[in-house]
């Protein structure tokens, strides 16, 4: 499986907001899939500490992230001074999506488009620029 963007898994170590069984199943599927991946104990912590690894993650090309709400992930990277690129990033939400669906999305070849699911459109919406409330009034 060489046709894969990089994969980042967040273990969300410091709160019980991501269901444990979902985290475990996603991790089990990743570790048995024969692919390379990155895993961090807690993206929130990396962001809070302004850890340089976040910058390295955004600089490495296409990225698939298994973490939590895409809006939160996007602004955690931004807060760490490592804004996610507008394209080439897909975020899966372990707080609400089933583990099997997340794993399938993470592991599908780059040439296969994401399945049409509510969570995918959620992710896509987050990484598309919103009309900015900072813009001058029309």
């Amino acid at each position: 499986m060489t046709d894969l963007p990089r994969i980042l898994y967040c273990h969300c170590a410091y709160a019980q907001v991501v269901p444990k069984e979902v985290k475990q199943e996603v991790l089990a599927r990743l570790t048995s899939a024969g692919v390379a991946f990155e895993a961090v104990p807690d993206l929130c912590e990396l962001s809070a500490r302004g850890d340089g690894r976040m910058q390295q993650l955004v600089e490495g090309g296409q990225l698939r992230i298994a973490a939590c709400y895409p809006r939160a992930v996007k602004w955690l990277f931004e807060a760490a001074g490592a804004p996610l690129p507008e394209s080439g990033v897909e975020i899966r939400n372990m707080r609400v999506e089933p583990a099997a669906e997340i794993a399938a999305a993470l592991l599908r070849p780059a040439s296969v488009p994401a399945a049409s699911t509510a969570s995918r459109s959620d992710a896509a919406e987050t990484l598309t620029p919103h009309p900015s409330p900072l813009a001058p009034p029309q």
């Binding site: 060489t2 894969l4 990089r6 273990h11 170590a13 410091y14 709160a15 907001v17 475990q24 991790l27 089990a28 990743l30 570790t31 048995s32 024969g34 692919v35 390379a36 991946f37 990155e38 895993a39 961090v40 104990p41 807690d42 929130c44 912590e45 990396l46 962001s47 809070a48 500490r49 302004g50 850890d51 340089g52 690894r53 910058q55 390295q56 993650l57 490495g60 090309g61 939590c68 709400y69 895409p70 809006r71 939160a72 992930v73 602004w75 955690l76 931004e78 807060a79 707080r95 959620d122 919406e125 987050t126 620029p129 919103h130 900015s132 409330p133 900072l134 813009a135 001058p136």
Partner: protein, 321 residues
Amino acid sequence: MITFAKNSLHVIVYEGEGSRPLDDRARCELVQALLEKDCSITSVRQRGPAQNGSRHEFSNTGMQTGVTLVLGRFESEQPEQAEDAKSGNQIRFLGIEGLATAEAVEQVESLRRQLCGEPARFWKPWFPVIDFNRCTNCMQCLSFCLFDVYGVSGDGKIKVQNQSNCKTDCPACSRVCPEVAILFPKYKAGPINGDVVDSEDVRREGMKVDISALLGGDIYSALRDRSARAKSRFSKERDEDRALKERLRCLAKLQQQMDVPPEVLASLPSLDEIRRRSEEAKARAQAALDAASRTAAESATKPDASVPSSLAPRPSPLAPQ
């Protein structure tokens, strides 16, 4: 300059060329145990020099820190220590052949202490994150927070300045934000946890602001007035129990409305201190807004100047009506 969290070790679980693969269960257990010991991990699986994840490519794509520890069931003797030719990072190797997961993790822990010192100080997983797609830079959060969590950046934008001052489980600033632009990623419910903001959320937040306006536009003034009224009643009636009940009722109401943990209310400073901090925060917020307006006005007089959207003037909620 890139800085890395002190004391955090980056571990590569290496199963590429020259290292025998782990079985699936052992790999999963090892990765999970290391994550729970606060290590970030790169799992390298594929074999062959041209494949993604090979040792060669890892240095271009993986997460690198000052110290990297490579774990593997190495087929040949590894040097104890090496240096990445490209990055200059120190690389250590640890053979885990025949080790149970717990033993491997114990050895990693021991090496971590040796390489990185004692574990980092406790980190509090609770802090606000600003969604700048929604934020209008109104500075309500800065004015509202009594714990100096917020500040203003050099270009006049609101920023989270002192994360560690934030009170665990208190999302009150998020609740006063009229644009639902403040997230607490570890919060239980949306949209504060980062879930999509829908029109109902915005309407609800708007109503809260209107309620604040009805109270006189300044929640602190309202609280002061209420306190003064309570004092007056207290002096007339000399009823300590009744005054105490009234205060508890007000606090309970505030706590419910904003989901503020009781510990936060218990840690609030004195009324005088609250007043002082509130005035200071408001002054800082107003100064930032004034500076942004001046910059925007100056830019507007220059025909070719483009005004950064973040500095565009907008009505200040702090300005007198």
